[in-house]
Amino acid sequence: MLTTRWRLLAAILALTLFGAAACGDDDDGGDAADDEETEETDDTVEFEAAQDSSALGTIRDRGNLVCGVNNVLPGFGIVDENGEYSGFDIDFCKAVAVAIFGDVEAVEFVDLTAEQRFTALQSGEIDILVRNTTWTATRDGAESVLFGPTTFYDGQGFMVSEESGISDVSGLEGARICVLSGTTTELNLTSYLDSEGIGFEPVVFEDNTELQPAYESGQCEAWTSDKSQLAAFKTSIEEADGGTQVILEPTISKEPLGPGVLDGEGDLAQIMDWAVFATIQAEEFGISSDNVEGFSSEDPEVLRFLGQEEGFDAGLDLEPDFAAQIVAAVGNYGEIYARNIEPIGLTDRGLNALWTEGGLLYAPPYR
């Protein structure tokens, strides 16, 4: 065994090494001392931006964008048996990747449940969350999400099977209702039915792979979720001969779905915003993935949008033709919608149409 002298030496060595590590040059370690003097978030962000350890800098160094997505929701984010991701949110993720790198393959997908998604964003596991997430005040504030433009205006509803005999919301009295944990759905369900004076039993699951068999086997009489999700599952259940499903009339909440990054990542948020706006604006101009290549126009707005106006730089840290690249890679908003949302049964765009057609999609001008 070590003699006393050697033990002493070992102790001193350990102390020195640990002291070096503890007071060391790790960013957060250094900030721990700094934060005691500066309470402001802004100061910390500026300190980090100067060293380019912001999310955008990390993404650029890494060479790809890490996206938090859904892997079990048809139409929005789903994986096929070859491991290929497809869906509405997946396409917007790719759009942001094209905006940053010009390469639609420079993206890595991380599957997340509704409960995990915010902690994944907060801990830096993902750069951007594009997972049918509703924009709410609490998520903006306490959960530190910086939301981008709403890509899908949705609302919450109920689905029941025809043989349950429930035809309206009052028929849900005493019913067991399946719901996902950690969603606005869970909270809205409670406040809506309580305000209507209808008693119910919530059956809470972590994700749809557990929820769907429970609903199909009759363990719960109703399924509550965003109506777009219900439409997707209605289609898949009816196709698998599960009996006719009925989505009840009332839309009991507003669910504006959109992408988000972590609070404080202003540069990345700007790119996310303008990548989304590019798809909306492209549809407004009539530019699609078919015609973007040789699209010619006299309109200076269109030329500027496609990056063909000499000398224009909006200062967004994007390539001049980023919009053209995005449209070439994933298409305009209408194409993304048609490719992903129409197959699940929502052919009427409703609120998700362009503002020129009575919907809510409105991109700020690119000038």
Partner: protein, 395 residues
């Protein structure tokens, strides 16, 4: 005789006593430094992203309902933790009781001279012990309850075929059994039972004294049970303090009776059986550890099988069995967190819901860990008190 001179003290830096103390101080300092570093890391990270670092969220409302309970969504998060504790304890206590009884019986059965009984017990133990508890839980919930039983609308009924009222309902979402409803005379009856209980304690002490004094069997168990049980029964018949409440199928729900969800049943049953298989092995090992001479001596004294186990073998075996059994009880309590897989609202599931709905994660998980720690400490404390009675005097 000359006293030898005291050896001179070694210098401070070679003095082993000093060095021991210094080494301990250094280690403690390193640990404290390390923890402080980690904590500051966490706090600065949270503050940089604007997430709360205090426990103020405990007063904010939870916002969602909990299945099968009266939890008001506007209650605070503290109340939600309390509800979670209640739900977990419901599973843990019933599970521990069931597991102990089944484990004891199966452990003894495994050593039976009846070949079939021994083999069945072995099959039970070897099957359940080698499957992860999560798999057992999902098997009960999905295969046995969800897929094999019908939906509530067509729930299976067992019992009196009088219109819609039945004795027992089995569906894939809940089970219903008849229960009691208190009538007005209930408090009177309770008073009667209380008085009888006090009397029976007095009887017990008296008969024990008689037995010790005269040496003849004084049948204290029989006498006490007769008085307490008989008296209570008589009171039931005369006072009529309880009435039956039968479950009744009303469309999509079951009203009346006592209902519990298949999630609760699956979790409790699965954990009870899984833990019973471990406890059976512990019991078997502890019985086999009792000296063979004890068995032979008990037989020589013409004790029946039951008497042999009750008075000679088990007291010695349990002494060995209790510490590992405490471990199994703790495992059962912690395994209740697997309820997240089947949607039963236990403590872990409710905490995850809280976090998913905007409460800060580090603080919530810290509270969760503290609660599980206190469960474990309380269970260990209680069972160790029992252990003390079994201990050999002098050890």
């Amino acid at each position: 005789m000359a006293i030898p001179a005291v050896a001179s003290r070694p210098p401070l830096w070679r003095n082993i006593r000093v060095l021991r103390v210094v080494a301990q101080v250094v280690v403690v300092a390193l640990v404290v430094l390390g923890l402080r570093q980690l904590f500051q890391n966490l706090v600065s990270g949270l503050e940089a992203t604007g997430i709360s670092t205090t426990f103020d969220f405990l007063d904010s409302p939870a916002g969602f309902r909990v299945a099968d309970s009266d939890f008001n969504p506007r209650s605070s998060s503290t109340a939600l933790f309390a509800q979670g504790v209640k739900n977990t304890l419901l599973v843990a206590i019933v599970g521990i009781l069931l597991a102990s009884v089944i484990g004891l019986l199966v452990g003894i059965a495994r050593l039976s001279s009846n070949w079939l009984l021994a083999k069945l017990a072995t099959a039970f133990v070897e099957t359940l012990r080698n499957i992860p508890p999560l798999v057992v839980i999902i098997f009960f919930f999905a295969a046995m309850f969800r897929d094999a039983l019908p939906a509530v609308r067509e729930a299976r009924r067992v019992g009196a075929p009088a219109g819609d009222e039945t004795a027992f309902y089995f569906s894939n979402s809940s089970f219903a059994i008849p229960s009691f409803v208190r009538e007005d005379a209930f408090s009177t009856w309770l008073l009667l039972v209380g008085i009888l209980f006090v009397c029976s304690i007095a009887l017990w002490i008296w008969r024990s004294r008689v037995e010790v004094a005269t040496g003849k069997p004084a049948r204290r168990v029989a006498v006490t049970t007769a008085v307490l049980g008989g008296g209570s029964l008589l009171g039931l018949l005369v006072l009529d303090p309880l009435s039956w409440s039968w479950p009744r199928l009303e469309g999509n729900t079951i009203g009346g009776g006592f209902r519990f969800t298949t999630a609760y049943a699956a979790l409790t049953l699965a954990l009870a059986l899984y833990t019973a298989s471990h406890i059976a092995e512990i019991i078997r090992g502890s019985i086999q550890a009792v000296h063979k001479g004890q068995f032979e001596a008990a037989e020589a004294l013409a004790l029946s099988g039951f008497q042999r186990y009750r008075f000679v073998i088990l007291p010695q075996a349990l002494r060995i069995a209790v510490p590992p059994t405490i471990n199994q009880y703790l495992n059962l309590t912690k395994n209740t967190s697997l309820a997240v897989a089947i949607g039963y609202p236990d403590l872990t599931n409710l905490t995850k819901s809280l976090i998913g709905n905007g409460k800060p994660a580090p603080q919530s998980i810290l509270i969760l860990m503290a609660i599980y720690l206190s469960f474990s400490l309380v269970i260990s404390l209680l069972v160790n008190l029992f252990n003390r009675r079994l201990r050999l005097v002098g050890r």
